[in-house]
Amino acid sequence: MRCDIAKMARVTFDEDRCKGCRLCVSVCPKKIVMMDEDKLNLKGFHPANVKEMDKCIGCAFCATICPDCVITVEK
Amino acid sequence: MGEKILMKGNEVIAEAALRAGCRHYFGYPITPQTEIAHYFAKKMPQYGGTFIQAESEVAAMNMVYGAASAGARVMTSSSSPGISLKQEAISYAACAELPAVIVNIMRAGPGLGGILAAQSDYFQATKGGGHGDYRMVVLAPSSVQELYELVVDAFNIADKYRTLCMIVGDGMLGQMMEAVEFRDKEDIYQADKSWAVTGTGMERDHNIITSIYIDPEVLEKHNLKLQEKYRKIAENETRVEVFNCEGADIIVAAYGTVARIIKNVIKTAEKEGIKVGLIRPITLWPFPTAEFEKYADVPQAFLSVEMSAGQMVEDVRLAVNGKRPVYFHGRMGGMIPTQKEILEKIREILK
């Protein structure tokens, strides 16, 4: 993945592990985590994802509440 | 061999376990086996081992489950109603293939029953008191000296096959005193316990001890593996004492202390011109079927004498397989069969 130095933080979703519970969506202070309507994962869900990555502040709330270790956070 | 000392059956169980390298004992008091716990309570600290008086027999056997998982030589003991409580963890340990030794100094039942001697837990020990298709090696000593030797053997068999071994004795065996001679050093089977939970040390994949297999095909496969192990144990570990059986008029089947009564009966009967043979199963499971088959053509009849309503007699019948009639004489409730009544029964059968 390309590394953009200007970005403050980045979250990556291991999409096929996502169970679509939306807990991450509910805790994101920037409201940037949402279910990716364009994708279906292996389980057939729309997995959680972040589109506007430049707004990510790397708070890791999404990762903290994720029950399935889907999310990795870099800062 | 060292010098002889006088010991109570229950003490010998504990001493033998210590000599066999058992350093962990978990139990709960119940007559007539509580001296086992007393002995461990005094001795374990000297060996740097663990003695815990558990909150229940249920917990005690689960502590055994944990200690065996951790790779230790471990033992619990109880008497009939307490053994019933241990059945849950016994079944789990059988499935998880954990080696451990369980002692049952049997008292009279059913229910709370009474503290006096009985042999009415034969079914429970040999036919599975817990759920599922499992077996335990069941050893039935008839003297204090044999008690010592079989407890040591039980630990070795347990480790060798990753199986449970149960020692069954009636209350008399636990309570009586006899001279016993200990070996200077025990022959201890050195088992590979790389399966045990000890911490991975970050050097290997994690070990798992479990008795759950959610895939029926896998569970059946595991069962087949267990059955194969039991077959191997039956092939290698069946033990029996055959006494006076060549040309006997009648062969008595008896185990434990009852077999000692029969030995006296044999002497008295001889004076009347009756030749009585004795087949004494030392392993109740695996049952020494072959010895009964071997002698099935000789005597007029077989007689099973037990301190129960007739439990081992079923295995005797299976082994004799209809070749000869099989009779039964038993006492219950803590009553002990007398030589006199056994002799009368023999005379009546041979009439």
């Binding site: - | 006088l6 010991m7 109570k8 003490e11 007559t31 309570q175 005193m177 001279a179 409730g333």
Partner: protein, 224 residues
């Protein structure tokens, strides 16, 4: 022997106290004394004084045993009748106390009545029992039992045996061990006990009294 109103037998469990106490009682009764024996064993559920009740009673001895002795329960309730023996001084009383400090505790509740009476406390030793094999072990056991009973041991009894496999040599071996205990605790050996055939073959300790015993407790497979 036989000259105190109350005779107490304690010891490590399995020391042979009961066999000694029963024989002692039978012989005391033979001297014409009005004798009572009390089974105070709350430790041992099998093989106890209660087993030989018939023989003792035939010898004119009053037998007091725990309420449930030799039944199918193991509640070690002490019989209230024991108190009567402290009142009625016409009896010679023999107390067969349970093993170890735990058993000795049962006698402790009577220690005030015993202490002001004419009594002797014998400690029975079988040196072929684990935990009483060496002078150190025996001394530890004596101290524990004294603690449990609340009564000091007055004399030792050499009862070295291995039941059917006993020999005079065992008594000789024990004699040496007890000599050490005696000198260290200043407690003399009161008497030597053994089955008649064994004890009569023992040549040593001629200066010490002897209790020639008969076997009173038989194992089930020996009984007809």
């Amino acid at each position: 022997m036989f000259n105190k109103r109350i005779t107490i037998f304690t010891g490590h469990f399995g020391s042979g106290k009961t066999e000694v106490a029963v024989n002692y009682a039978l012989q005391a009764a033979e001297t014409g004394k009005k004798t009572a024996i009390v089974d105070l064993d709350i430790v041992n559920p099998f093989f106890r004084t209660a087993d030989v009740r018939n023989r003792l009673e035939a010898g004119g001895i009053k037998v007091i045993t725990p309420v449930y002795a030799n039944t199918n329960v193991d509640v070690p309730s002490l019989p209230a009748e024991i108190n009567s023996l402290f009142e009625d001084k016409s009896y010679s009383v023999i107390l067969d106390v349970g093993g170890d400090d735990l058993g000795a505790r049962a006698v402790s509740r009577y220690r005030d009545q015993i202490a002001c009476d004419d009594y002797i406390h014998y400690f029975v030793v079988n040196t072929r029992r684990p935990m009483t094999r060496t002078p150190d072990e025996i001394i530890r056991m004596i101290l524990e039992i004294q603690d449990g009973a609340g009564l000091k041991v007055d004399m030792l009894v050499n009862n070295a045996n291995m039941l059917g496999e006993s020999t005079p040599e065992l008594l000789a071996e024990a004699s040496e061990i007890l000599a050490v205990v005696s000198s260290r605790l200043s407690i003399p050996v009161g008497f030597i006990s053994g089955m008649e055939e064994v004890l009569s073959a023992y040549e040593g300790d001629r200066g010490i009294e002897r209790l020639y015993m008969k076997k009173n407790i038989t194992l089930p497979w020996e009984q007809m």
